[in-house]
Amino acid sequence: MKKFSNIPFKGTPEQEAQLRDWLRQNRDMQGVAMPALQKAQEIYGYLPIEVQQIVADELDIPMSELYGISTFYAQFSLSPKGEKDISVCLGTACYVKGAGAIMDELSKELGIEADECTPDGKFSLSACRCIGACGLAPVITVNGEVYGRLVPEDIPGIIAKYRD
């Protein structure tokens, strides 16, 4: 169940101007709500209530409808990600090749479960759907950088690279 996070919103006026500009230019696009939320998430990294309110105002779409959309799709995040976002592919190919053990090891190493962020805001961990790098299974991504053909023993070394 997705919830708005308690972490205070830190949006800048520049971000807001960028979003409002885009919304004004595209408000006549058919089915604009999804692309608008995608744009907003691209700008802010997540979709806190303040940002959804901007979208609702500019597009004249009820907030309840936007909330419905943002909670329906897995890609929309209502809480901020850690500085380093680690994603474990749990697609079938990776699963068959032991992605479960990779997830356990990450969880152990970071002290958090999937969909959580470390208290210092440094790392967040999540499971993702197949990213299509099945030839490299099992894979994880750290801020989009891909690590493949992993065994649990590789994990501490990878985390260490990002710790400082």
Binding site: Q30, Y73, Q75, G91, T92
Partner: protein, 630 residues
């Protein structure tokens, strides 16, 4: 481009750009084309770095007019990535490391001799001569229709696509055929939807109702885990989809199309964007295409991580900017689809066949395949198989050929157990049916389905109950919640499987599983729910003995289900080093007072009531191998 003559002129002028890749030299100043795979798999292992290094080498040698470095789409052999092919010889370098580039460039490009130690071993014959890739086991049985341009052209170059007869099919439709004739050619070819259900494409087009506004939708929301066929087409040959959608638009009378792509495919989205922009600039999209009365344009819409959006009505709801929930049918999309207008929706792979069918004729296409399944099918081979990657085979190829010849068999000397098709909607083909000819109807007759093309190979270490559970966890997660059979029913199925894998199952549970599966199949609103029980039904059908082992004997034969495992120390093998006990997180390992003959220290034992079955002890005993799990 304002006319077909201009298109033909561009084709003539561009031919020389790709001639070298057919082994024809002398049409241009370049002596070598170095093709580097820029598909998602190879890009994930940073093939970009190879391109950078190659370009630096070219520059350092002042060979800018002699060597061209091309980023292409997927070659198919993802397990061997990073991949690089050098033309005109067609030498295939596999698992290329950035450190190899200098040596390969000096030896092959400057010196003229392929550097054999980095050449893919299967492309070398006994005497060490390089043979064409098409003669390797992986490619020999493949027929490339959908993937004909993947790995051959630069996907971001319209000229290279046009050089390989690109947009000729569209030109042919506009100049020679009426819309009704196009529909009839597609019908005669026998092409069926490649998204999974296999509905005849020509029929689908013919159902599109009259109306002032109609749409073409390309379903590129490839959501089955382990499937990446559509992505590879979009990454390797994006113009082909644009051309096919324009043809579809002409056939059904639509002037606007949408491609709905998963947001998880950034490279595909980028290349498609580049291609659409270029097609628009060149007048291949827009008003009065090639001087005709036909106008057509395209837009991209990105998904946002909802599996159900691969279902056609949910996909349309999502393009409309709403929660991607499916709608009841009828009315079918052909009558009332996107924005309430008649809509034809086709999958990427289906569309990729269209230009070739138009150019080479319905009969040519219908000659490939089996009686009711024509043409080829692209599969994404994954899991426990040597040649992980993308293969395109004629319909009717046996599973045995796919796994053992093309796929190179199961690694580490393990036994083939089953192949999973169709992802969370599909079933599995057990080893006993390995000679099944793969086509739509054969797979359905064994309670399986073609699906979109994910083919996951499993060996003896895979527990089939656990596998079914894995897919149910996926569908529980992805159920949109609109209808009760799927939202509640699939969750109940998962609870039953949880119970069984924890060793608490009863025989009655099996009957209830079957009853519930059939109920969900019959009563769910959309394809997601209707097919969600398939993994359970298929494993129950072919691997009932594994379910029974979990329930009656409280054992997991594959040694996967944790709750049913037990770890034991062979007291005569144990040397008493204590490494296991030191690392045990649960302090479940203690020293006994037994010392094995020939050993100095007393053996250890595992207290089963304390053991959490994490397996750390076994990892610590890799040298001695005194610990086993059962």
């Amino acid at each position: 481009m304002k006319s077909i003559e201009e298109l033909n002129a561009l084709r003539r002028a561009s031919r020389k750009l790709v001639a070298l890749r057919d082994g024809i030299t002398g049409t241009e100043t370049y002596k070598y084309h170095i093709m580097v795979c820029g598909g998602t798999g190879c890009t994930s292992s940073n093939s970009e770095k190879l391109i950078e290094l190659l370009k630096a080498e070219v520059e350092a040698h002042g060979m800018q007019d002699i060597v061209k470095v091309v980023r292409t789409g997927c070659f198919g052999l993802c397990a061997l990535g990073r991949i690089m092919i050098v033309y005109p010889e067609g030498v295939f370098y596999s698992r290329v490391e950035p450190e190899h580039i200098h040596e390969i460039f000096e030896g092959h490009i400057v010196g003229g001799n392929p550097v054999k130690k980095y050449v893919y071993s299967e492309t070398l014959d006994e005497d060490g001569n390089v043979k064409p890739l098409t003669e390797t086991d992986f490619y020999r049985k493949q027929v490339r229709v959908v993937l004909r341009n993947c790995g051959v052209i630069d996907p971001e170059s319209l000229e290279e696509y046009v050089a390989r007869d690109g947009y000729q099919a569209l030109a042919k439709c506009l100049s020679e055929y009426t819309p009704a004739q196009v529909v009839s050619i597609v019908s005669q070819s026998g092409l069926r939807g490649r998204g999974g259900a296999g509905f005849p494409t020509g029929k689908k087009w013919s159902f599109v109702a009259d109306g002032p506004k109609k749409y073409i939708v390309c379903n590129a929301d490839e959501g089955d885990p382990g499937a990446f066929m559509d992505r590879s087409v979009l990454e390797g040959d994006p113009h082909c989809i644009i051309e096919a959608m324009a043809i579809a638009g002409y056939a059904v009378g639509a002037d606007q199309g949408y491609v709905y792509v998963r947001a998880e495919y950034p490279i595909a989205v980028h290349r498609l964007r580049v291609a659409i922009d270029e097609a628009r600039r060149e007048g291949l999209l827009g008003r009065h295409i090639l001087g005709s009365d036909f106008s057509f344009d395209l837009d991209i819409r990105l998904g946002a991580g909802a599996f159900v959006c691969g279902e056609e009505t949910a996909l349309m709801t999502s393009i409309e900017g709403k929660r991607g929930e499916p709608r009841t049918r009828p009315p079918f999309p052909a009558v009332k689809g996107l924005f309430g207008c008649p809509t034809a929706e086709n999958n990427v792979e289906t569309l990729a066949n269209i230009p070739q069918i138009i150019l080479r004729g319905a009969d040519w296409f219908a000659e490939m395949g089996t009686e009711k399944s024509k043409g080829t099918k692209v599969f994404a081979l994954g899991g426990k198989i040597n040649h992980t990657g993308l293969v395109e085979i004629p319909m009717g190829t046996t599973l045995n050929e796919i796994v053992n010849e093309i796929g190179g068999g199961v690694p580490n000397g393990k036994k083939f157990k089953a192949a999973q098709t169709g992802g969370p909607s599909g079933g599995c083909i057990p080893a006993s049916l390995i000679d099944t000819q793969v086509d739509y109807d054969n797979l359905i007759s064994i309670g399986c389905m073609m699906g979109s093309g994910g083919l996951i190979i499993m060996d003896e270490d895979t527990c089939m109950v656990d596998m079914a559970k894995f897919f149910l966890e996926f569908t529980v997660d992805e159920s949109c919640g609109k209808c009760t059979p799927c939202r509640v029913g699939v969750r109940r199925l998962l609870e039953k499987l949880d119970k069984i894998t924890e060793g608490k199952g009863t025989l009655e549970d099996l009957d209830e599983l079957e009853y519930l599966c059939n109920y969900i199949k019959q009563n769910s609103l959309c394809g997601l729910g209707q097919t969600a029980p398939n993994p359970v039904l298929a494993t129950l059908r072919f691997f009932r003995d594994e379910y029974l082992a979990h329930i009656v004997n409280k054992k997991c034969p594959a040694g996967v289900c944790k709750a049913l495992l037990s770890y034991t120390i062979d007291k005569d093998k144990c040397i008493g080093c204590g490494l296991c006990a030191k690392n045990c997180p649960a302090e479940a390992i203690v020293r006994t007072d037994y010392t094995a003959p020939g050993h100095k220290l007393a053996s250890f034992e595992i207290l089963s009531e304390k053991c959490v079955k994490c397996g750390v002890c076994m990892d610590n005993c890799k040298k001695i191998k005194a610990i086993s799990k059962r």
